[in-house]
Symmetry: C2
Subunit: 388 residues, 2 copies
């Protein structure tokens, strides 16, 4: 646990079947005006919208709606949301959806009472809020981003070709989150497995950093083993409650700041994936999947010891009689084999990337400082090319 840090995560979680009943405990804490934020309307088909509205009405709330939050929420949509929240005099923003919807709700929550331009202040200058923050609650319908219990908020500016993730402090975390594993049952398989890989990638980004003997690494190995085990079950049987509930819980803990403690963390795969997303609007988890094998091969010489440990402790590679490099490579082969088996997109072409986009994507890729190899722009280009 080298390094000093502070940890605080006050989000209250209601987990399990009928977790929505937790709203009855939370709603009375907030004023009358609720801005209900959601995405493309799938919650109207699967009954979640009706169930949430019922509880809101029973608690005497006046509900204002802000629908149509897209998978990669944009600055344009954010402007609309901020106006709606202001017009509603929102006392609570209730986000019903996956990471995009909750990320968006957080962005709105810190902008309603802020006079500056939110994009410049929070996402470009990376400042912290100094205005009143509208409390956010979340009803999770898709797992992956951990947004229900952290301060992350990824917003895309199409004009600037930038997709930027701001990490807010605990005052912006959702005050509460409803996690009912059954709410994730109706998600199409493509989105489901993309979410699974997003979770694994979140853990990778934190695990593949640092050379100390950190408790967080041991915990992450446990989380990865649980995820892989349950993902294999869920791919065959998406309505397996046990598997989906374990994955939901793992996703939250993979990115609620806990396992980052004492780690420098990397996030370079996310930076490349987000740049791809800004150019293609491809599903986030798939952008990460498409570039991960090439990225791991590139950092292997610099993080061979840790990748060998990962091979043994996560993928069960037997290290006896092998060099660290051989063990590490066997681990990466096991990862890739598993990725193909669960149905991930393994190349950028399928996601709509064309050769001519590559220089632009590389230009939009932030270079991080915490991983085993600080990439050059040439290396980003190589990784992108190898991922085509």
């Amino acid at each position: 646990m080298l390094g000093n840090f502070t940890y605080c995560n006050p989000t209250k979680l209601y987990f399990g079947k009928n977790a929505l009943e937790g709203l009855n405990e939370q709603l009375p804490k907030y004023g009358k005006n609720v801005l209900l934020v959601y995405g493309g309307g799938s919650i109207k088909k699967n009954g979640i919208y009706d169930a949430v509205m019922k509880v809101l009405k029973e608690n005497g709330k006046t509900v204002y709606e802000d629908a149509g939050v897209m998978p990669n929420p944009t600055t344009e949509k954010m402007k609309e949301g901020i106006e709606r929240a202001r017009a509603a005099k929102a006392d609570l923003i209730l986000a019903v959806g996956g990471g995009s919807v909750i990320d968006y709700a957080k962005g709105v929550s810190v902008s309603v009472h802020c006079k500056e331009d939110f994009w410049e202040k929070y996402y470009l200058r990376m400042e912290d809020p100094d205005c009143e923050i509208v409390p956010v609650g979340a009803v999770l319908t898709m797992v992956g981003t951990g947004s229900e219990m952290n301060g992350g908020s990824v917003i895309t500016n199409h004009a600037q070709k930038l997709k930027i993730g701001k990490v807010f402090g605990e005052e912006v975390f959702p005050k509460f989150a409803i996690l009912d594993p059954e709410y994730t049952f109706t998600l199409p398989k493509y989105q489901m497995v993309a979410g699974f890989f997003d979770i694994l990638c979140h853990i990778h980004e934190q695990y593949f950093s640092g050379t100390d003997d950190n408790t967080s690494d041991y915990v992450m190995e446990g989380l990865m083993r649980s995820l892989i085990h349950s993902a294999d079950i869920a791919v065959k049987d998406p309505k397996n409650y046990e598997a989906r509930s374990n994955i939901m819980w793992t996703a939250t803990w993979a990115l609620n700041t806990f396992v980052a403690m004492g780690k420098t963390t990397d996030w370079e795969v996310h930076m490349i994936g987000q740049a791809v997303g800004a150019y293609t609007d491809a599903t986030h988890g798939m952008t990460l999947a498409a570039v991960t094998p090439a990225y791991m091969r590139h950092i292997l010489p610099y993080g061979v010891k840790k990748i060998a440990r990962y091979a043994v402790n996560v993928w069960g590679v037997d290290p006896s009689g092998k060099s660290e490099e051989e063990t590490a490579k066997e681990g990466l082969a096991a990862l890739e084999k598993w990725m193909r088996a669960i149905g991930l997109v393994m190349d950028l072409k399928t996601l709509g990337v064309t050769e001519d986009m590559i220089p632009g994507i590389a230009d939009s890729t932030y270079i991080m400082q915490g991983g085993y190899k600080i990439l050059t722009k040439e290396e980003v280009i190589e990784i992108l090319k190898e991922s085509m």
Copy 2:
């Protein structure tokens, strides 16, 4: 993750060297009157008392003291503390010490403004507070109980020969905790290793329950592996910062409610150990160590599958060609070997238990319902006898 649950842990942690500086961020949030609670005075020898007093004075606090909290805090001492807190009109109770001191501070915090008898209300009738709670902060000097980030409060009533642990809700959790691994360096080896075993036993009590495929189990395997690895280093080199810091962090997460989510949990070893403690005043972790091997042998037929998993995933036992029972037994042998190696007390006689105490200890032992075998009183007596 079978089962529904809620999770909330709002305690803010300041971790690392000079973590005490975190007090400067926290103290301004509370009023002028601080009740400083501590134990036998070791903090006056190692400089922690002076360091804490300096920060309190710099923050303009009026400090009232409540010293002499004993390793197993008593109802008599509690009455004294409640009176002191009332006289001081305490705005904050700052506990400086290990689990006993923090447990005690929590007990006082819910009793200052409560008109009923605290022992009967909280510890016998197990009620929740319905009065104003004085906020508690903690400066940790000894790891093990996780009390710095949970609602646990174990109090001993000598007249009734009862040592009872009440688990309060998040409103009683310390508001903040200072975790500086260097503060644990001066602890004598006996207390240090007892604390290590207390941590392992906390994980055991949660791990050895349930038969589902729970993410918490994977996380606990990681925590146990990290603990064992670092404990081996710390026993040889108690001032190894890396090892002591990992152990400190592991201890907090072993018992801050996280890994209990989705688990029924057992706690029978703690019940037996606490009954031993009420009769002998022996160090808590040592009472757990003395009874654990016999307890594990008794539950083995009922939890053989999980104990075999534990053997493989925690102790590295190779299961090939072995029955589940053989693998499980090899795991328990590895546990016992490790316990002896780090210097734990392995029998009750050494802790001052005499044969004639056994019926009384068994009578004082609460029978828990969440483990692999619900014990009969006869079985408790057998376990105690085998542990002599």
